[in-house]
């Protein structure tokens, strides 16, 4: 492909595909992370764990034995260990805040460029359609990871300040040293980031279908809420495991001894399938559609 002879012009000397890819990738990251709107989103994301932590410190929740579910279990544990604010923060924000943050960046990724008209110029540069899409997706994944890490890190700090910190009592009853508990926090964070990466692939696919970023963002948010609602309907339990949001909260499997790897793997498999499915869709669409904006 690159062996065509290029006449006369000062030949592109440093034509190093990997280096060039990272150059575009870092430009994309700068665009995403230096954009005021996105920074504001990350800042808002960081505020939530602070508010949740203070609220729980002021009005300590009563142990709720009548209800179950991982969220409730985290609340019960928090009074004894600030580390659990991480899991409370993640499980609370996973309902809507984190997905919306990812939806904004993913929905904007291609549709936003189309809306500005910059997409046609990027392709005329030429950025390469497949290459541009890969860079866009990589930036979405990094942004989702950043948002998740911010929730975990802020929760951890706030939890440490407001609550006692010490050996972590797992949901299954056994206690592990703090260092190992923090390692599990890391795994939980990565699991949630993987869930957001899967959502990012769905968002990217939606984004290739329109030149209205707002429309794409709203569509992704509606998809998330719909999936969550359908997942709550007992009569539809049969399709539950196939829903994109079904495995998001399964990170509580990491907080058991032994770790419930089968549930985790099912979750990761689901994320992987969504990435492949919607990634392929985005690619098929983006590499074959006319750019008319």
């Amino acid at each position: 492909m690159s062996t065509v002879d290029i006449p006369a012009l000062p030949a592109p000397a440093l034509h190093h595909p990997v280096r060039a890819w990272f150059r575009l990738f870092s430009a994309e990251l700068r665009l995403v992370f230096l954009r005021r709107r996105n920074l504001l989103l990350l800042a808002v994301t960081a505020v939530f764990p602070v508010v949740i932590g203070i609220a729980l410190r002021v009005a300590a929740p009563q142990p709720q034995n009548g209800r179950n579910g991982p969220g409730v279990a985290f609340f019960n544990q928090l009074a004894g260990n600030g580390v659990f604010l991480t899991f409370i923060g993640l499980s609370t924000l996973l309902v809507l805040v984190l997905p919306v943050v990812v939806a904004v960046v993913a929905g904007d990724s291609v549709a936003g460029e189309a809306g500005y008209g910059t997409l046609r110029y990027l392709l005329a540069v030429p950025a390469g359609r497949t290459r541009l899409l890969a860079v866009k997706y990589a930036a979405i994944v990094v942004f989702g990871l950043a948002a998740t890490v911010i929730v975990s890190a802020v929760s951890l700090v706030v939890g440490a300040v407001l609550f006692p910190i010490g050996p972590v009592t797992l949901l299954s009853g056994s206690t592990i040293p703090l260092a190992e508990g923090l390692l599990r926090v890391l795994f939980v964070t990565l699991y949630v980031a993987a869930a957001m990466a899967a959502l990012g692939a769905i968002g990217l696919a939606v984004s290739t279908m329109t030149e209205h970023a707002i429309g794409a963002i709203a569509t992704i948010a509606i998809l998330v809420v719909t999936s969550e609602v359908v997942d709550q309907v007992p009569q539809l339990a049969a399709i539950g495991p196939y829903l994109p949001t079904h495995w998001w909260l399964s990170f509580d499997s990491i907080l058991r001894a032994p770790v419930d790897t089968s549930t985790l793997l099912k979750g990761l498999l689901s994320f992987g399938v969504y990435v492949v499915l919607f990634g392929s869709f985005a690619w098929a669409r983006f590499t074959s559609a006319d750019v008319t904006s």
């Binding site: 492909m1 690159s2 065509v4 290029i6 006369a8 012009l9 000062p10 592109p12 000397a13 440093l14 034509h15 595909p17 060039a20 890819w21 150059r23 575009l24 870092s26 430009a27 665009l31 954009r35 005021r36 500005y116 008209g117 910059t118 046609r120 110029y121 990027l122 392709l123 005329a124 540069v125 030429p126 950025a127 390469g128 290459r131 541009l132 074959s288 006319d290 750019v291 008319t292």
Partner: protein, 309 residues
């Protein structure tokens, strides 16, 4: 070699509308090619296909000898373009916007980027506004920034789609001077416009589009030659004058109020005049008129406003 060539290039939109209908472009190397036609005649769609932004329904296109859209990654970095107006990120400065596009070019050397950006901005006279956010640029500055983006690398071909759209006369003149300068460097320029007057002074070649078809293509001088000169006779006896013109073998003889006219063809005007007088026709005035380029253009594309299709 031809900088741009196409054969049977066709684009039918999903709605069934034929936007570009079997056009065979041939843009010679080193020419300034005016791609003319009214709004909606298929110019932009053609340019989008040439640049690989839109996929042809049928037919082939080549840029600098490389087939498009398949060869896009091999050839487009040798081509600068401005398609359907400038487009940049409103929240970035002019300089950062150019850096963004340069970062997307896998063949561009990042170490020379600052110098190349400075040079491009300087060429379009935007150096003093380099740090200003794009959203605060005037329309003319936006247009010039788009031209600067097309000059980030040495190019063999520059495609400019309506580069003077929305510019005041001063801005139009600036763009024209810039195009002249680019062409003087040996770069082929493909410039589309719906106004002949705008490009007539700088073009060496023209292609004229009408409702998706290329109705004329060739050197500008050739377009001038297609304009058939007419003899116009002012007389009270128009009908008799027409008969004389017809017997002299002139085609398209027409009688008007107090006036007769016919296509001149190869005939000698002096002889026609003599014959008219000889035939006893009172000639009040006699003239030979060649149509203006504008008339020819309108003749090819139809009067304004009636955007067909």
């Amino acid at each position: 070699m031809t900088a741009i060539s196409s054969s049977g290039l066709t684009k039918r939109f999903r709605g069934g509308q034929l936007a570009v209908d079997h056009i065979d472009l041939s843009v010679p190397d080193g020419s300034v090619y005016g791609f003319l036609g009214p709004n909606g005649s298929g110019k932009t769609t053609t340019i989008r296909m040439l640049l690989g932004l839109a996929f042809p329904t049928s037919g082939r296109a080549e840029l600098l000898g490389v087939p498009m859209p398949d060869g896009a990654s091999r050839v487009l970095h040798r081509v600068g373009s401005l398609v359907e107006g400038p487009a940049f990120y409103p929240f970035l400065s002019g300089r950062d916007n150019l850096a963004r596009y340069d970062a997307a070019d896998r063949t561009a050397d990042p170490r020379t980027m600052p110098d190349r950006i400075t040079e491009a901005l300087d060429r379009v006279g935007l150096l003093s506004a380099a740090r200003k956010r794009y959203r605060n640029y005037s329309l003319g500055m936006k247009q010039r920034l788009a031209i600067a983006a097309s000059l980030l690398r040495p190019r063999e071909l520059i495609v400019l789609d309506e580069p003077t759209n929305g510019l005041d006369p001063q801005g139009t003149r600036e763009v024209r001077a810039l195009v002249r300068q680019i062409a003087a460097d040996g770069t082929t320029v493909f410039i589309s416009s719906h106004l002949l007057a705008e490009v007539e002074q700088i073009c060496t070649h023209v292609g004229v589009m009408r409702t998706g078809r290329l109705v004329f293509q060739g050197p500008l001088a050739e377009l001038r030659r297609t304009g058939a000169a007419r003899v116009i006779v002012q007389t009270a006896d128009a009908d008799a004058a027409v008969k004389v013109l017809a017997t002299l073998g002139l085609s398209d003889a027409q009688a008007g109020p107090e006036e007769a006219s016919a296509a001149l063809g190869d005939a000698e005007p002096e002889r026609i005049c003599a014959e008219l007088v000889h035939a006893g026709i009172g000639v009040r005035g006699f003239s030979v008129a060649a149509p203006s380029l504008e008339d020819l253009f309108v003749g090819l594309t139809g009067e304004g406003f009636d955007v067909d299709g």
